[in-house]
């Protein structure tokens, strides 16, 4: 059993669940306490010690039966509950029908005698069907069917069963006994199928674990890969990591805030601390400076910038508690206020909705006009405490960049930043107006991958920057 648990943990790791050494040790202790007799308790014991994140439960639920399933329910013995005469009849009938039919020998052993296939037999069957080569979940059904067919579960077998029934009736078996027998044979077919499916699932999970003993999440790698080179599944993977990333950024932001030792004197705290000095204020205590940034985010959501915009919004909203206020806008050809969506729905939902409602590719990006429109209609969002962030590639389709609008924003805002997802070497080439915009911005960050984006966002919380 211990070996099984070790393999199970390896499979969990291969599927991307983080299991530390300490946790696997806990799992062993827990299962010792719990025993293996009550399956549900055993399962709970493993789950509570190994799975520490709700989304990982799914993986656990999927893999558990492969390793600790009984491999499916046991086969029924068709002769059970039969009178000895009937059992003899069945044996005779089978012999008469088949003679020494080698091909169906195994299948009949399982179905007609209710003997469960041993592990060795399953391995042999699996080897013939090519199970050891498979590492893909979706091949499970197909491989199971293939194993069943190779065992001889096909039309011919069904025909054989029909003949068997007829012969038994001729030999004088009662209708009731026949019905019972037929039911058991049918049930056994289902059970055998289930056992084989479980076997295949288990083998695939194992082979995945062996092939991939390390955690497959290429976190650091993906974080440093350019947004435009990410596949859909990579992006999905990164979405899962956003929360974790946000947690890291948050604790950094919190730590920095602690260090803020300027500002108003905290009289109460000062008196309390200095009681030990007989009331002489040797140590001054200051109010912790919670100056949270106030943001206006203007995101380009045209095709090229889309993934960056999505992660930008997700990250900022995961960090809501560190931000005083955030007003999000998006643009392609014109500016749109998307604050309402964030007020009504939870951020993850809102991001998805906004992006779905504003498909890319139908319009031409017009940054200049969007900015000008912003200064006309939404300028109340900006005041002297606001940091304005423009996220985009600065490609303006040779339209008017409207530098006057940028200048106006710069005058009013505390700071104006640009997050650009393009390589700086490309700035100013083609229709990029980046170099013209450049002088107006307090700082410009390249955010071509998630790591850079996180770093740029992290800088927002630097109160002295």
């Amino acid at each position: 059993m211990d070996q099984r648990i070790v393999e199970f943990i390896a499979a969990l790791r291969a599927a991307g669940v983080r299991v530390s050494l300490a946790e696997s040790a806990d799992a062993f202790r827990a299962t010792e306490v719990m025993g293996v007799l009550e399956r549900n308790w055993f399962k709970s014991a493993l789950r509570t010690t190994l799975i520490k994140e709700e989304p990982d439960q799914e993986v656990f639920e999927k893999l558990f039966p492969y390793y600790f399933g009984s491999g499916g329910p046991p086969l029924l013995n068709p002769t059970e509950g039969m009178s000895p005469e009937d059992a003899d009849l069945l044996k005779d009938a089978l012999r008469a029908l088949l003679g020494d039919n080698e091909r169906l020998k195994d299948l009949l052993k399982y179905i007609m005698q209710g003997l469960n296939p041993s592990q060795a037999e399953l391995d042999e069957m699996g080897r013939r069907a090519g199970v050891p080569l498979s590492r893909q979940d979706y091949q499970q059904q197909w491989l199971a069917r293939r194993m069943m067919r190779q065992l001889g579960m096909d039309q011919e077998f069904q025909e054989l069963v029909r003949q068997l029934m007829e012969r038994l009736r001729e030999m004088g078996m009662s209708d009731e006994a026949l019905r019972e027998l037929a039911a058991r044979i049918r049930a056994n077919e289902g059970i055998l199928q289930e056992q084989i499916e479980n076997y295949v699932g288990q083998q695939i999970a194992r082979q995945q674990a062996e092939q991939n003993p390390r955690q497959p999440f290429e976190g650091p790698d993906l974080m440093h890969r350019k947004f435009q080179n990410l596949s859909e599944s990579d992006i999905q993977e990164l979405r899962h990591q956003v929360r974790r990333l946000a947690a890291r950024l948050r604790s950094r932001a919190a730590l920095r805030m602690k260090k803020g030792k300027r500002g108003t004197l905290d009289a109460k705290k000062t008196i309390r601390t200095n009681l030990r000095n007989g009331g002489v204020p040797l140590e001054l205590k200051h109010k912790i400076h919670h100056q949270k940034p106030k943001l206006v985010i203007i995101c380009d959501v045209s095709t090229s910038v889309r993934p960056v915009a999505e992660f930008m919004l997700r990250l900022v909203y995961e960090l809501q508690d560190q931000i005083a206020k955030a007003r999000p806008f998006i643009f392609i050809d014109d500016i749109t206020d998307i604050g309402a969506a964030f007020q009504q729905y939870r951020p993850e939902v809102a991001v998805e909705m906004v992006l779905a409602a504003n498909p890319a590719g139908y319009y031409n990006t017009n940054l200049g006009y969007s900015l000008a429109h912003f200064t006309q209609d939404y300028f109340d969002a900006v005041d002297h405490r606001t940091t304005v962030i423009i996220l985009g590639d600065g490609r303006n389709n040779y339209l008017n960049p409207r530098l006057d609008a940028v200048e106006e924003i710069k005058k009013r805002a505390r700071k104006i930043l640009w997050f650009n997802n393009e390589d700086p070497r490309l700035w100013g080439t083609g229709d990029s107006d980046m170099l013209e915009y450049l002088p107006y911005f307090d700082s410009v960050h390249e955010v071509s991958n998630l790591a850079q984006l996180a770093e740029a966002i992290d800088k927002l919380f630097d109160i002295y920057a």
Binding site: D26, T49, R244, A254, L255, R276, Y345, P347, E348
Partner: protein, 324 residues
């Protein structure tokens, strides 16, 4: 000490807490392995309640540490009682002068005072906060660390130290070891990701909104005055709300509040008028109330229609993983 899992469940049931198999197993394991439990789940599904019921079931004192932003060691662990120390110094001035009477030099006097220093830095002047109390109290206790996700990351790190060794160091006194191992339960509303290290040290339990059956039995147990039929309607209504896209879902405790309100108002059935008056007990955002009313308005004839099991049109079902 529990003997079996069913015993855990019965003991918790006696405290009016209905535990699923999962909960009972984890509590049993925590008891056996002496490990903290980390409970996560949406607000109001009875995480804190579990701690209370557990404490009563094992007859331990419940020591609660409520976390918040800015919580630090002095508020969680211990603090010197400066005022009391000052007061004692004042009162003992005469005694001090007799002790110092025959000293010749200043250095001599300082040495003499230093010898008595222990008096002022002793347990007498130590104000134990929840963590220290859980370690030092004479009877074994149950420590509830509530909403750990609200505390700062540094506090979490500090907590790790306490939870792994069950001992703390007070510089003036030395190391204080736990007299008894406290049972520990941490709760989190999952508003932020906790550190991996903390999760590693705990048994993990995720409590979700209960099923109709479970919630019904909770309502029946806690609000016995509500008629069974009305209780069923009420629970189904709440479950229905959880199936909608809302800002905040009604919690189990809100279901109970609502059930009590229904008893109080002597409601015979859940009709439009009753809903109009009481919906705000369940929903705390005006937008949610409006949305619920709009959707409910589509069901002419009120709540009666909601008992059927027809596919629920365009209403998304509650999905805890949504958005992950």
């Amino acid at each position: 000490m529990f003997e079996s899992i069913s015993q855990v469940r019965d003991a918790l049931a006696k405290q009016q807490y209905i535990a699923t198999d999962e909960i009972a197993t984890v509590v049993y394991l925590a008891d056996k392995l002496q490990k903290p439990i980390l409970v996560e789940g949406p607000a109001g599904v009875g995480k804190t309640e579990l701690a209370k019921a557990w404490a009563c079931a094992v007859q331990r004192e419940l020591i609660r540490l409520q976390c918040y932003e800015g919580l630090d060691e002095t508020k969680a662990l211990y603090e010197w009682e400066y005022a009391k120390q000052m007061l004692y110094t004042q009162l003992l001035r005469d005694k001090l002068s007799t002790i110092l009477q025959d000293t010749r030099s200043l250095a001599d006097a300082a040495d003499r005072v230093a010898q008595e220093e222990d008096v002022f830095f002793s347990q007498r002047f130590l104000l134990p906060r929840p963590l220290l109390r859980a370690l030092t109290c004479d009877d074994p206790s149950l420590l509830l660390i509530d909403e750990i996700d609200r505390a700062d990351a540094e506090f979490e790190a500090f907590l790790l130290e306490v939870l792994s060794d069950f001992q703390v160091t007070v510089p003036e006194l030395g190391t204080i070891r736990a007299k008894h191992m406290p049972l520990v339960l941490l709760t989190s509303n999952n508003t932020r990701e906790l550190s991996e290290a903390l999760k590693r040290r705990c048994l993990y339990l995720h409590i979700d909104y209960p099923t109709v059956q479970a919630e019904l039995s909770i309502v029946r147990m806690r609000v016995p005055d509500l008629s069974p039929q009305l209780a069923k309607q009420a629970v189904e209504f709440v479950q229905r709300l959880r199936g909608m896209e809302l800002k905040k879902y009604p919690s189990v405790s809100e279901t109970l509040d609502w059930a009590r309100a229904l008893v109080m108002l002597n409601a015979k059935s859940i009709d439009e008028k009753v809903l109009e008056n009481t919906l705000t007990i369940l929903l705390k955002y005006e937008q949610d109330v409006q949305r619920a009313k709009r959707v409910l308005g589509e069901f002419k004839g009120g709540i009666g229609d909601m008992d059927d099991d027809e596919p629920r049109g365009n209403l998304p079902r509650y999905n805890p993983r949504r958005g992950r």
